[in-house]
């Protein structure tokens, strides 16, 4: 079956240096970096496909990408570490938001095959884990291939995306590879994560919302909120953070509606019209988040 189709060449570098050499030798021909492969394989046109995957670089054998290190302030995670390993090892050290984002991504069987690097760098798809990593100020290390050598560069995870949460890694840093992530070990007084719909199966209907904040006697401080639409990107903006931060808590229904209206208008202006089901789901989640925040404040 499909015998006339060309079998893609699979390159399996053992080190980052070999990866860099492969990328430089093949110039622009390599169009698939293979981490876990879960997203690529779930696309409808993946196999048999006459156009895609001419050359594949399989990152499975690069040992450096599997390393896990931690100290008191942060944990460094290789980009090929699976989501399941992160959820298990980081359950007691990482903020709850990231753990629940991982647990809501897929069941354990799939999580064992999804890599954290792949989650961050999938073109045309934004996962809630990636947006939560941006929310938590995660830093990423890039390996940028150069002739006869390669460079390493640390940058903030949000710089991999444009202002609307679409991946721009390949335009800003051609052929760069995310090798490590540095997640700060920090505590928040209030953490909220909620998602509805399956982002992989129905990206046009799924939406997720994550919020972290510090609480004091006057209300909430340092509020950060991120809303993810898997097929469009994410919304992460200081204006929304400030709007939520200026809420007088406990907030009543009228204030809730105002916040809701502001955020929906902001989304419409920036990332365009979202589907009615996403809008309805987002409204429900925001209402739930503010109610949880109210409860939290009242029990202080």
């Amino acid at each position: 079956m499909y015998t006339e189709l060309r079998s893609p060449n699979v390159h399996e570098p053992k080190t980052v240096g070999e990866y860099s050499d492969t990328v430089i030798n093949y110039k622009g021909n390599i169009n698939s970096l293979w981490a876990g492969g879960t997203f690529i394989m779930s696309r409808k046109d993946f196999y048999p496909s006459p156009t895609t995957n001419v050359e594949i670089i399989n990152l499975k054998d690069i040992e450096e990408l599997y390393r896990l290190q931690r100290n008191d302030r942060y944990a460094e995670i290789g980009s090929m570490v699976s989501l399941n390993d992160i959820a298990q090892l980081g359950k007691n050290i990482f903020p709850k938001t990231i753990i629940s984002a991982i647990e809501h991504t897929a069941c354990r069987m799939l999580r064992e095959r999804i890599s954290i690097g792949g989650t961050l760098c999938t073109q045309g798809f934004t996962s809630s884990v990636a947006s939560v990593l941006v929310l938590l100020d995660t830093a990423v290390e890039l390996i940028i291939p150069k002739r006869r050598n390669y460079a390493r560069k640390w940058l903030h995870a949000s710089r991999l995306y444009d202002k609307n949460g679409r991946l721009t890694l390949n335009t800003n840093y051609k052929n760069a590879l995310v090798s490590k992530l540095r997640i700060a070990i920090q505590n928040f007084d209030f953490e909220y994560f909620n998602t509805t719909g399956s982002p992989m199966i129905e990206p046009e209907a799924s939406v997720s919302l994550a919020t972290v904040a510090k609480l004091d006697q006057n209300g909430i401080a340092n509020t950060r909120i991120i809303i993810t639409f898997p097929s469009r990107g994410f919304v992460y903006n200081r204006d929304i953070d400030n709007m939520l931060g200026s809420l007088q808590l406990p907030a009543d229904d009228i204030r809730c509606k105002e916040v809701e209206k502001f955020i929906l208008a902001f989304i419409r202006d920036n990332i365009g019209k979202i589907t009615p089901i996403q809008e309805a789901r987002l409204k429900g989640m925001m209402n739930d988040m503010i109610m949880t925040l109210n409860q939290h404040i009242l029990t202080l």
Binding site: M1, Y2, L5, S7, P8, N9, V10, W34, G37, T38, M41, S42, R43, K44, F46, Y47, P48, S49, N53, I56, N58, K60, E103, A106, C107, R108, M109, L110, E112, R113, M200, I201
Partner: protein, 176 residues
């Protein structure tokens, strides 16, 4: 691309397209009868096999990633003692998955049992709530509504009991 792998105890060397999904490879090149997935990576959950002892959706694994691996499909798993534990749980409870998802659900239960045993050995046992929520998540992976969540949990628990009993019996006979 030449791929060498062990399928159901047979060592095979196949010449296949490197990006061919394992599910297609098993169906077309090895002629495995128990695989009835037709979703082409849409995560219907009906193509579960054990790859190096762990359950995977075979439509999400490309051929180049299974080089030198061991694949166990339901065809050979149904002849093992481990399968009897699950089969007798189905019989005891009078709950059985439909023909369409029988193989996948059974392999998924086997994977859960193995994982549970591993965590018991490592003294890393989860709380019952965590275990059950994990089961509910896993049950949702197979898009078939022949068995509801509570029945699925009951089957897993019963299979776990059967396995413990069998292992204890083996242990006792060894001692005596």
């Amino acid at each position: 691309m030449r791929v060498e792998l062990v399928v159901d105890g047979k060592t095979l060397s196949l010449n296949v397209s490197s990006d061919k999904p394992l599910s297609a490879l098993l169906r077309e090149n090895v002629e495995i009868k128990s695989l009835n997935s037709c979703c082409n990576g849409n995560i219907c959950g009906n193509c579960i096999v054990l790859l190096d002892g762990k359950a995977v959706l075979s439509c999400l694994v490309p051929a180049f990633n299974v080089k030198n691996s061991t694949v166990v499909t339901f065809d050979s798993f149904s002849k093992t003692k481990e399968y009897r534990d699950i089969e007798s749980a189905y019989a005891t409870l009078g709950i059985e998955p439909c023909q369409n998802c029988y193989a996948s659900k059974t392999l998924m239960i086997e994977n859960i049992l193995r994982r549970y045993e591993e965590s018991e050995l490592e003294n890393n046992k989860k709380s019952e709530d965590d275990f059950i929520s994990e089961l509910l998540h896993e049950n949702a992976l197979i898009k078939c509504y022949c068995m509801d969540s509570s029945s699925f949990i009951a089957v897993v628990m019963e299979s776990l009991n059967n396995r413990r009993k069998r292992k204890n019996n083996v242990h006792r006979t060894k001692i005596s």
